[in-house]
């Protein structure tokens, strides 16, 4: 009873609404009449084809029907009925007097002025966009395939105002981050809800682990896939983005990040089998590389050392040349055994340099930066084939599609992505009352990835830090401690362990990383849905819609023996991630007219949704047989760590929508959803209202060619973000490898190894009163069309406030917890969006179209629940540059050490005129853009069409940590400069004065106290990326790019059709990401250290981005 009681309290607001809907529904049933039947056929003026779906209403009544697939209709009208009104979106409405006819055939012509789009509402029903008070962004399937991307998310880049897509890496299939109208949550799920044909599906990125909001992406590891990319882009008819809270409120606590509604392709009644075959080939290459120095060798202080981590050694051009001196005599000083590569090359110790002989035994002047790039990178490619067959008749249709895409990454190693999809869509009508439809999709993806980021096994970390004079070609071989010693097999040769005389190479050789490691994932996924519609009367339809989305992702992360760091004994992780989502809706739809001038429709529905996550698997280390199979038996028991996690979230919603149209010009839409979810605390039910209003004010005006259409709109709504499941209590957790561990920079202690095992209270305090985060948003806007609709514009302003943010608040350790998971804090977004389309020229064979979109979003965190100084780390490195949430700052602000400044803001320099670091960290940048935009156009002549899309991202900050850390290693090109010391000499950071006239390695810079020399003393202490002074490295991260360009030609002339029996053959040539303008050096600023998470704008040895050249051919029968 208590449950019922707690439910009733929040329900009160809906109490007032529901009876109203109920009465409205009843009113409609009063339309009673007897009398005569009328039939007829509706066809098109243009091509005489039958028109299905046309509304037929007796004027002045609610009595009506719609035409069937053959354009036939049947209606019983009252005796006093005089006129029938025929209407359909995109067609001119026509009124026909009935007189005494029993058969009324009509022909409707298309409304050339009527450019309004059909949009899909949150429930998946089609509506006329002009009657909605909201901003919609719709992307047609054609535009998705035209992008040439093989993953769905990336194909949306630049296409819609307020929608930001950022790919985290150029790795094949890597996840991308979607952000709609700014960030809406700090720790919760940050990605929009994806709904395919009315059924929500998973878009998990990374690992579906215990924390749903936690994407499992971080600064190391590999960039995993976005599950949305399991959908074949070619299967999409259209994709629509519900940006605002008012559009998405029906989805309650899953809609705060917006909703992406995907409508898949269906068959059509074409009287024949439609067959389309499309083949696409893409060539991909690295788009930006870091500039590196190759003037100075490995070592420090200008002296060569073959094991130094840095490249501050001797000047390579000063070396004598010729082969290096090697210590081959076992009795000689410095003999260290030898290494024999697989190809038989032998390496012995090379004598280090000294002050008198800086190059020591290193005689060769060869450098290997370019060779390393050639050894690692290649031109990657993908081949994407798609075959679809469809057909139908008046009673039903089907579409079967097969897709297969296979991709080789840009690395000459184990990097690939394969996706196979099969999809069947079928629709069937049984008379006029019952219709059923179903979708079944199976997708299988197989992928291998490359380790990246802050990771001793990451590609770039070992590759870019490697000394320019180190030849890493022979990366695997055997080590012999002495001529008599037995070999140690398969040792790993790296630049800090050039003889491989130690099991730990410290950093991986990049060739080891790409060839010897394995990071594979195999995904099997089924998405099924079915819908049944029963329409017993013409004003009511009952719809039951159910679906299931289930996948299993088998992942292997394998580090062979002699990989860097803690993995030198070998390590293998095998996990199976499973996620199942079940969803069911029951919906009642009512449509009727309240009076001749007031049209109305009401939907009532109920939904239940359940999501289960599982992760089962284990880790093993220290292989018994170094190259043994990946089986847990290949390690002792103490080195095996099995683990499992499961979570469940169930939610139910009752919802209602009502739409009213007045005089065909004023439209009011209202929705309400009551939601209960298992992850909530004591209060289990919350209400999400929304309403919007559209006024087509041009209906009042005389039609004008200047302003051909005008609409004002306004919307208001509430949506939410769910708490993570199972967080209402404070648990006890095992002190074990997979859970709570006590450690410090490396080593950890686990209860597995001590006593009888160990459990402690969780370091995170739970909260029994967890609530969803609630986002309240209003928006206003206008849609205007000018010059007979040739210029189409949309403008929207929105403002929202997110309260009760779910936070893992870092608490003062002295209270006895590390963090507390609770509702605390609030955040605001406000911004505007502009869309523009302009038909510049459309005559004869020519058509020139221009389009643009732009938006600005301003985000500010207004509270984090605690003191003003609160900082929540979202990503990056808390000891260097991190992405944080901080009060008064936009979410994801970059945070790190700042300059010590004087009261007037100038730098407080030390006695040598070098800057100093302030004791406290502060905000050092904002990675969010001031504005972003897309702009492009199409020029077509006959069947030839040229399309281009530019995208820009302006006013953001970027932390180029790869570059700054390469300073420490003396490897970045900036540290390879040489300067002549000017008159008066220069002082370096160590306080040494360098006399005028000398040529020295370094750069001259003036921090405000006169020029100083930046040399090794600076670049290995405060002037490098590991120092606390991170502010010095932040750069403008703005970029503009030619996102897409394509040239396409369609062969579809009458003659061609007759000769080949084909409808058309389409050819296209495309470029993707071809040109990039940015001040960021060395990496595409779209990159993300933390993968597809809210932490943006940082690079730390991230794998590079790509550009692509794509050719495709499509044959349509």
């Amino acid at each position: 009873m208590r449950n019922l009681f707690t439910f009733i309290i929040p329900v009160r607001r809906l109490d007032k609404l529901l009876p109203a809907f109920f009465i409205l529904g009843l009113v409609s049933s009063f339309a009673l009449a007897q009398e005569r039947p009328i039939t007829g056929t509706i066809t098109s003026v243009e091509n005489s084809e039958p028109l299905p779906g046309v509304n037929v209403v007796v004027k002045g009544t609610t009595n009506g029907t719609i035409s069937d697939i053959d354009g036939n209709y049947q209606l019983t009208v009252g005796e006093d009925a005089e006129t029938l009104v025929f209407s359909f979106i995109g067609l001119l409405t026509k009124e026909v007097a009935i007189g005494n006819q029993s058969k009324v055939d009509v022909q409707l012509s298309s409304d050339t002025k009527q450019l309004s789009e059909v949009v899909v509402t949150a429930l998946g029903f089609e509506e006329d966009a002009d009657t909605r008070g909201l901003a919609f962004s719709k992307v047609e399937g054609e535009s998705i395939t035209r992008s040439g991307e093989n993953t769905l998310i990336n194909s949306l880049s630049g296409k819609a105002a307020g929608v930001q897509i950022a790919r985290s890496s150029g790795d094949p299939g890597a996840a991308s981050y979607i952000q709609i109208r700014g960030q809406n949550t700090i720790t919760g799920e940050s990605q929009p809800l994806i709904v395919v044909d009315g059924i929500p599906i998973s878009n998990t990125v990374g690992a579906p682990n215990a924390d749903v909001g936690n994407s499992g992406e971080n600064t190391a590891g590999v960039r995993q896939q976005s599950r949305m990319n399991d959908i074949n882009p070619a299967d999409i008819e259209s994709l629509q983005i519900l940006k605002g809270a008012s559009a998405a409120a029906l989805w309650g606590s899953r809609a705060a990040n917006g909703v992406i509604l995907i409508t898949t392709k269906k068959g059509r009644d074409a009287g024949k089998l439609d067959i389309t075959f499309r083949s696409t080939v893409s060539l991909d290459e690295v788009n930006v590389l870091h500039p590196l120095q190759n003037k100075f060798g490995q070592g420090q202080g200008g002296i060569y050392s073959p094991t130094s981590s840095r490249s501050f050694g001797d000047r390579i051009s000063d070396r004598p040349g010729g082969p290096d001196e090697q210590i081959t005599d076992p009795n000689a000083a410095g003999y260290a055994g030898f290494y024999e590569a697989r190809d038989g090359d032998r390496y012995y110790a090379i004598p280090s340099g000294s002050a008198d002989n800086p190059n020591g035994g290193k005689n060769s002047r060869e450098t290997f930066n370019d060779a390393r790039e050639d050894q690692v990178f290649q031109t990657g490619y993908f081949v994407d084939n798609y075959l679809s067959m469809s057909g139908g008749n008046e009673n039903g249709n089907f579409l079967l599609s097969l897709g297969h895409m296979t991709q080789e990454g840009i690395y000459r190693g184990v990097s690939d992505y394969d996706r196979s999809t099969i999809r069947l869509n079928a629709n069937r009508k049984f008379g006029d009352i019952v219709r059923v439809s179903s979708n079944a999709t199976y997708a299988r993806t197989i992928s291998n990835r490359i380790q990246t980021g802050s990771n001793l096994n990451g590609l770039y970390l070992g590759m870019l830090r490697a000394a320019p004079d180190f030849n890493g070609e022979d990366y695997i071989g055997n080590y012999f401690a002495s001529p008599e010693a037995a070999p140690i097999l398969n040792r790993h040769r790296s630049y800090r362990r050039y003889l491989a005389n130690n099991p730990n190479p410290i950093y991986n050789n990049p060739l080891w990383t790409i060839n010897e490691l394995q990071n594979s994932t195999v995904v099997n996924r089924f998405i099924m849905s079915a819908e049944i519609g029963i329409k017993p009367v013409n004003w009511f339809e009952f719809i039951a819609r159910g679906g299931a989305d289930a996948y299993e992702d088998q992942r292997i992360t394998y580090f062979p023996v002699h990989s860097a760091g803690a993995n030198s004994g070998g390590r293998n992780e095998e996990f199976i991630f499973g996620e199942t989502q079940l969803n069911f809706d029951a919906i009642g739809r009512f449509s009727f007219a309240l009076s001749p001038d007031i049209s109305s429709s009401v939907n009532l529905g109920w939904n239940i949704n359940q999501r289960n996550y599982n992760r089962v698997g284990g880790i093993m280390q220290n292989f018994l047989i170094p190259d043994g199979p990946l089986n847990f038996s290949n390690s002792v028991g103490a080195d095996r760590f099995p683990s499992d996690t499961e979570t469940i979230i169930r939610s139910t919603r009752t919802y209602a929508t009502a739409n009213f149209g007045f005089y065909d010009q004023l439209f009011i839409n209202a929705t309400g959803a009551m939601e209960s979810a298992s992850s909530f605390g004591e209060d289990k039910t919350f209400f999400y209202p929304s309403a919007d209003l559209a006024w087509q004010f041009t209906q009042l005006m005389n039609s004008s060619s200047l302003l051909s259409f005008g609409k004002l709109r306004a919307g208001y709504g509430q949506v939410g973000v769910q708490p993570d499941p199972h967080r209402t209590g404070t648990d006890f957790e095992a002190v074990s490898v997979d859970d709570i561990l006590f450690g410090s920079w490396g080593a950890v202690l686990s209860g597995v190894g001590y006593g009888n095992g160990a459990f402690v209270q969780s370091d995170q305090q739970g909260d029994p009163n967890l609530r969803p985060e609630i986002k309240t948003e209003w928006e206003i806007g206008t849609d205007l069309r000018f010059f007979n609709d040739r210029l189409r514009t949309g403008f929207t302003y929105y403002q929202n406030e997110i309260n009760d943010l779910l936070l893992e608040v870092a608490v003062a350790p002295s209270v006895g917890f590390e963090t507390s998971y609770t509702n605390a804090g609030s955040m605001e977004n406000r911004g505007w969006e502009v869309d523009l389309g302009y038909t510049i020229y459309n005559k004869g064979d020519w058509n020139i179209e221009l389009f643009a979109n732009a938006n600005q979003n301003i985000n500010e965190i207004t509270s984090l629940g605690g003191s003003e100084g609160d900082v929540i780390t979202l990503g990056g490195f808390s000891t260097l540059t991190s992405s944080v949430a901080k009060v008064g700052e936009p979410l994801s602000a970059l945070f790190g050490g700042v300059y010590l400044r004087n009261a007037d803001g100038s730098l407080d320099l030390d006695e040598n005129n070098f800057p100093q670091v302030a004791p406290d960290f502060d905000v050092i940048g904002d990675p969010n853009p001031v504005w972003r935009g897309g702009m492009g156009g199409t020029i077509s002549w006959k069947n030839l069409s040229l399309y281009a899309l530019f995208e820009t991202f302006q006013g953001s900050s970027f932390a180029p940590n790869t570059k700054s850390v390469l300073y420490n290693f003396g490897k970045h090109a900036d540290t390879g400069n040489e300067v002549v010391v000017p008159a008066g000499g220069l002082v370096n950071y160590a306080g040494e004065t360098i006399a005028a006239g000398q040529t020295v390695r370094g750069n001259i810079r003036d921090f405000g106290g006169g020029p100083v020399l930046l040399d090794e003393a600076w670049y290995t202490t405060l002037g490098q990326g590991f120092s606390n002074l991170q502010e010095q490295f932040i750069v403008d991260g703005s970029w503009t790019r030619l996102r897409e360009v394509s040239l396409s030609y369609s062969l579809n002339s009458q003659k061609f059709r007759e000769k080949t029996k084909l409808q058309s053959i389409d050819f296209s040539l495309r470029g993707r990401n071809l040109i990039l303008w940015t001040d960021v050096v060395g990496i595409d600023p779209e990159t993300s250290l933390d993968g597809a998470t809210v932490a943006r704008g940082q690079d730390y040895f991230n794998n590079p981005g790509t550009r692509s050249y794509i050719f495709s051919i499509s044959i349509n029968y």
Partner: protein, 490 residues
């Protein structure tokens, strides 16, 4: 039709409204983790958490700041010159307050009402061990109100001297509990002594002596140490193994796999002070006709020619039998780490005796310790076998003016005191208590004569955790810097 509609609609509404909450009830209990755990398992967790606060970052920082090691690369080059930011210490504070104190309070809440006293005593000694170390490193810290979020959301920072005093009473309470002999926890609970009350009582006394040493209450320290750990076997060592992410030696993991090359014991500026004391080839070598440090030197350090983690410079020794070496060094993969030892206790007896003016007793204690070393002491047997060592007893003349340990003509007492303090410094290699001694004796005749790693000042303390500064309004503002002296050293 009207009736059909009416009923279907009504059914729909009633069904949905009634069904909502019931369908989502009782699904939110965590299926993965329990909501409670037995005190025995929690105690083991507390011991592990506590161990990290002595063997982790705190120990490495102290070793760098007392001339035992050198930070040479990446962040550690910066830490070495005292640029350690507050954010670096949060993890340690978590282990102190959340890992150790919070969970140990939970243990006490569970067992004290049941009269399980030995177990309670062990828990209290562990608390004192942890907080004593913390206050010695950070000064004023939360204690009396700490780790009780239910009552104190912003714990006060207690005065350091008050903390020392209350830790002495806590240890007295613990000793009383242990003395009852009642309530020994199940085997496997205690990873050090498996619940043996006598061993814990000795540890508690050695710990009391340590805390009295910190506060320079030498007479009380002497009394406590007399009841302290009496044999090497009674020492509290954290056992280590060879399983990654489970039980490997912290130094080994840090110096090798995790942060190879970041910490060494020498660089182009020279060797760490302790290296100069122990290296027989160094002009500052402390060996003499009665003392040969060769074995201990090699056990501690790996020479520049053989260094594996920092090739070319001398480094803390990580050679491990388990990794194929023929020797097992101080920081071998499975080398046990000293927490509270016989070595500390007897050297405390020696130092406090000489400070009390009892030269003979002090010399006897020192020689007793040297006899222990002469038998190999705490040095791994592989090093005893491979290298020479000699610790012959000293006699009073050695400390007389002009004697081999008093070439600069101090008083005999001072000369002996200096030798004992130096022996402590050498013995406490890699432990935070070496830094306690250095700070305690700084400026005196017996001081460890280390030079600052940068600038002209030696640091006095660590910086408070960044999370604590952010989250606790009672945190001192401004935050004291590393160069600000703390109460016990004033």
């Amino acid at each position: 039709m009207k009736i059909l509609f009416k009923y279907s609609l009504l059914t729909l509404l009633i069904f949905s409204l009634a069904a909502c909450e019931g369908l989502v009830e009782d699904l939110n209990d965590d299926p993965n983790n329990p909501s409670d755990a037995p005190a025995e398992l929690i105690f083991t967790g507390v011991q592990l958490a506590n161990a990290t606060t002595h063997a982790g970052l705190t120990a490495r920082m102290a070793a760098m700041w007392t001339g035992q090691m050198k930070g040479v690369d990446r962040q550690w080059g910066d830490f070495h010159v005292y640029n350690a930011g507050a954010s670096n210490f949060t993890n340690m504070w978590d282990n102190i307050y959340y890992g150790t104190l919070r969970n140990s309070r939970i243990v006490l809440d569970k067992i004290e009402p049941l009269g399980v006293r030995v177990f309670a005593g062990m828990t209290k000694v562990t608390q004192a061990h942890c907080i004593g170390n913390a206050t010695s490193l950070w000064g004023d810290i939360p204690f009396s109100e700490a780790a009780q979020i239910e009552d104190f959301e912003a714990p006060l920072f207690d005065n350091q001297l008050d903390i020392y005093a209350s830790l002495q009473s806590l240890l007295d309470e613990g000793i009383a509990d242990l003395g009852t002999g009642i309530g020994i926890p199940a085997s496997g609970t205690d990873i050090y002594y498996d619940g043996d009350p006598a061993s814990w009582i000795a540890v508690a006394y050695t710990l009391k002596a340590r805390l009295y040493m910190d506060t320079k209450q030498y007479d009380l320290a002497l009394q406590a140490a007399e009841n302290g750990i009496a044999s090497f076997d009674g020492s509290m060592y954290l056992q280590h193994g060879t399983t990654n992410d489970v039980d490997r030696n912290f130094y080994w993991d840090f110096l090798g796999p995790s942060r190879g090359g970041d910490i060494a014991a020498g660089d182009d500026q020279g060797e760490a002070y302790l290296v100069t004391l122990l290296d027989p080839a160094n002009g500052n070598y402390r060996g003499n006709a009665k003392t040969d440090e060769t074995a201990r030197f090699n056990y501690y350090y790996l020479g520049a020619d053989a260094a594996v983690n920092t090739p070319g410079v001398i480094e803390p020794n990580t050679l491990s039998l388990s990794q194929g070496a023929t020797l097992n060094a101080m920081f071998a993969e499975n080398a046990s780490f000293p927490l509270i030892t016989y070595q500390e206790n007897i050297l405390t007896l020696a130092e406090t005796s000489v400070r009390a003016g009892d030269f003979d007793a002090a010399l006897t204690y020192l020689n007793e310790y040297r006899a222990f070393l002469n038998e190999g002491g705490y040095i791994d047997p592989t090093y005893r076998a491979a290298f020479t060592l000699m610790y012959e007893p000293y006699v009073a003349e050695d400390f007389a003016a002009g004697g081999m340990e008093n070439m600069d003509n101090l008083s005999a007492n001072d000369a002996l005191l200096r030798e004992i303090v130096e022996e402590r410094y050498v013995t406490f290699y890699g432990q935070t208590i070496a830094w306690n001694d250095e700070r305690r004796t700084r400026g005196s005749v017996e001081a460890i004569p280390i030079a600052p790693n940068a600038g002209s000042e030696l640091p006095w303390r660590f910086v408070y955790s960044q999370d604590e500064i952010n989250g606790n309004p009672n945190a001192p503002d401004p935050v004291p810097s590393v160069f600000e002296i703390m109460a016990i050293y004033q």
